[in-house]
């Protein structure tokens, strides 16, 4: 670990670790998960979760992620029918998975808007203790009132305020986790009086074996990146291609230093998908099969209907894009964040031109738009391993967060074939470094904050 010692010697210079870590992201709601194949298993049975997490642990994965969405996505005013949907509460499922695993990190995606800070901080601390120091929180900041319709407090937050709100939330959570003076207590009182909520609590739980839950964050806007640079341990980025990944690293290191933290303080794990086989040719053929099952004719039309705001069932999925115009001005949030706020008419014009230009049918066009092209690594085990080794060598990323396209067997190829190739190249762990997530990621233990040490703590305004 020469890189770690050099990072310590000059904390303002980024030093690549030379290695990669894998996480698995079991999204539970998305069009990337194939449910039409004979091998497609249950999305909700505990056995699917057990199988995936135990395969990941056999492959020395650092983390197992669960997604969260607090309202079902809709399509033209009704629940969206064409993709996998319906998933357990992340922390409840992870608490159960803690019982059948020993080393892998357990990451819960949890929302800062529709949770109370004291309650969420307590539940995350619980998961951290129950799992022996393996819990993490993937911080998300949904703000829309449409999701708020499922909660005591509906839509109370302006989009513009979401990071300000999230930051006050996270700082309050950190103070709660910092509050026990020693592992035996006593706890310091934590108060926060902000624009959006008030917290006044004597925290109940001691620090865990990894001090406190590891923090992941996924926003890619400049505010999101700055938020991660100030608060997070790992950023779950959207830039897995080598050149873009290097740019992103450079940008994030600058922001991290500007936030007063060491250059290596925030790790990067982009979202990714792997389509692998023994040869490049077989992998390409497999990719065709995967794509055809991810985006069928109905999904292709439904995708366009989101932007057109009207039924397009009369159109041939294998024909050109619809000549009629969208009936909506702006796409709404009901389909999920990726669709929110696009200017519909302008987009339709642009897409029609693009599809005509490239000679693409509706189905081909949508497949190209949605196939996570940037996020997919396709090829033979050895070719992909060679490519990933390059990421490790230059320090473009710290690892990859892999979304499997099959549940529950989607990691088998990766663990059985890709991981050994990476190990041979010396860029992937050959054992778990420790039993906590923080140890396994090589993250520094947090220093207890001064705020918490001050009795009663200052009342903060956000």
């Amino acid at each position: 670990m020469t890189s770690h010692s050099s990072a310590k010697s000059d904390p303002t210079v980024f030093a690549p670790s030379g290695t990669l870590q894998f996480g698995i992201f079991f999204q539970g709601v998305n069009s990337g998960t194939i449910w039409k194949a004979a091998e497609s298993g249950s999305q909700t049975d505990f056995e699917s979760f057990r199988r995936l997490v135990q395969t990941a642990e056999r492959g020395l994965f650092a983390a197992f992620f669960l997604g969260e969405g607090l309202r079902l996505r809709e399509h033209l005013g009704r629940p969206h029918a064409l993709d996998v949907v319906g998933r357990p509460d992340a922390q409840t499922a992870l608490a159960a998975l803690a019982a059948v695993t020993t080393n892998i990190g357990l990451v819960a995606t949890q929302n800062t808007t529709y949770n109370d800070p004291a309650d969420l901080a307590h539940r995350l601390a619980s998961l951290d203790l129950i799992s022996g120091g393996r819990a993490a929180w993937n911080i998300v900041t949904t703000d829309n009132a449409w999701t708020g319709a499922n909660f005591r407090r509906g839509g109370y937050l302006d989009h513009a305020d979401r990071y300000k709100h999230a930051e006050a939330f996270v700082e309050t959570a950190k103070r709660i986790w910092d509050s026990w003076e020693t592992p035996a207590g006593p706890a310091r009182h934590v108060r926060h009086e902000g624009q959006h909520y008030t917290v006044d609590v004597t925290p109940r739980l001691p620090r865990s074996a990894q001090y406190r839950p590891v923090l992941f964050q996924a926003g890619d806007s400049p505010e999101g990146r700055d938020f991660a640079a100030r608060q997070a341990d790992v950023i779950f980025s959207a830039h897995p291609k080598l050149e873009k990944a290097i740019e992103f690293r450079t940008d994030l290191v600058a922001r991290t230093l500007a936030a007063g933290r060491p250059a290596n303080a925030v790790q990067i794990m982009p979202a990714s998908e792997f389509i692998l086989a023994a040869t490049d040719q077989e992998a390409q053929a497999k990719k065709e099969w995967v794509r055809s099952l991810q985006i069928g004719p109905q999904q292709a039309l439904a995708y366009l209907e989101q932007f057109w705001g009207r039924e397009l069932s009369g159109y041939d999925p294998d024909g050109p894009l619809p000549e009629i115009d969208p009936v909506v001005e702006e796409t709404s949030e009901t389909r999920g964040s990726g669709f929110h706020g696009a200017k519909a008419r302008q987009l339709a014009d642009q897409w029609r031109a693009e599809a005509k230009d490239k000679g693409l049918s509706i189905r081909q066009f949508v497949s190209a738009k949605t196939s996570r092209m940037d996020a997919t690594f396709t090829g033979s085990y050895s070719a992909v391993a060679d490519h990933l080794a390059e990421f490790a060598r230059v320090g473009a990323v710290d690892g990859f967060n892999i979304s499997p396209w099959l549940i529950p067997t989607g990691l088998d190829d990766i663990v059985n074939h890709l991981v050994p190739e990476l190990q041979e190249r010396g860029v992937y762990p050959t054992e778990y470094r420790g039993t906590t997530l923080r140890e396994n990621l090589g993250l520094a233990t947090p220093v207890r904050s001064g705020d918490a040490v001050t009795a009663a703590g200052p009342v903060r305004h956000a």
Binding site: F46, P79, P88, D89, V100, N115, A118, S126, L129, Y197
Partner: protein
Amino acid sequence: MSTAATARPGFLAIELDGAGWDGAGSGTLAAAVLAVESAGFHVATFKDAPEAGRANALQRAAFAGPVTRSIALVPEVDTVYTEPFHVSTQLASLDYVSGGRAGWIATATESPAAAAAVGRRSVTGEGLAKEASAAIEVSRRLWDSWEDDAVIRDVATGRYIDVDKLHYVDFTAPEEAGPGYSIKGPSIIPRPLQGQLPVIAPLGLLGSGLVDDAAVDAVLVTAPTPELLTAEVRDARSRLRTGVAIIAELDVVLDSRGLAAADRPAPADSGRALFTGSAAGLAALLAPILAVADGVRLHPASFDVELDELSRVVLPELRRSGALRAPLQDATFRDLLGLDRPASRYADAAATAIAAAE
């Protein structure tokens, strides 16, 4: 029916108290829950009192899910200062990770500290039961909001779910205690394995304008002394609808490890009946209570110490005498309570009628 003047033997529940939270954490919890399962207890409950060191009850129950095979796992979950939508999803998830062995002790306790933690006004008096009533109702609606066969995986039409089998719950909580709230639905998880998790409430939350007895599957009944428990159980039974299971609550301190119970430190007053004495004496006390109640929940003064005697003497004696039923294998918590698996309230009435006629 389980709850008729009860011909069949009763079941035993045990409160795991703080087992599992003490830093050694998961190891202790796994050992505790396995020990009570192998002793023959039918139900383990997980307390969620706001005490230092106590991890979230529902998560401890979830951890116990894959570790155990037959015991029902029933956490306390507050209804007043929690988000009902999260609570519903978490409990449904507990049912999945436990293979249909989950239940819910719905609590509503006056607590200015719990109110301050989430920045809300403290709820008192009847407001507590009204919050509980609303939270139970919305959870039940959300559990029904996906019909059982909503996931169709129909390759021909490209539909993963049948949207006609998902339902908005459109619940509005009355403005009794706070600002009120409304919940749209549907749930974000399919219907729980049991359809509806059994809901248990302390008897004190039930009443006119409070929690309706139709909303619960079981009640917890206490008495000032062990001798009065049978009468309290009979009284509760006479006032509640047929079908509500009655679970009697009892604190226990036993002669154990060479120490007389009377010489051991008395537990803090819990408001429950307290038995102090020998294991044989406890078995003799429990047999007639189990004949009138559906079950008894024991609160051991010291988990490890009492469990020795309970597993070595009390449970074997009760089984031998026929007062205690054998543990159910591969059964749901509803099965233990003698409850059928209900159809979703949103299921097509015509389809239900056809199914019934077949």
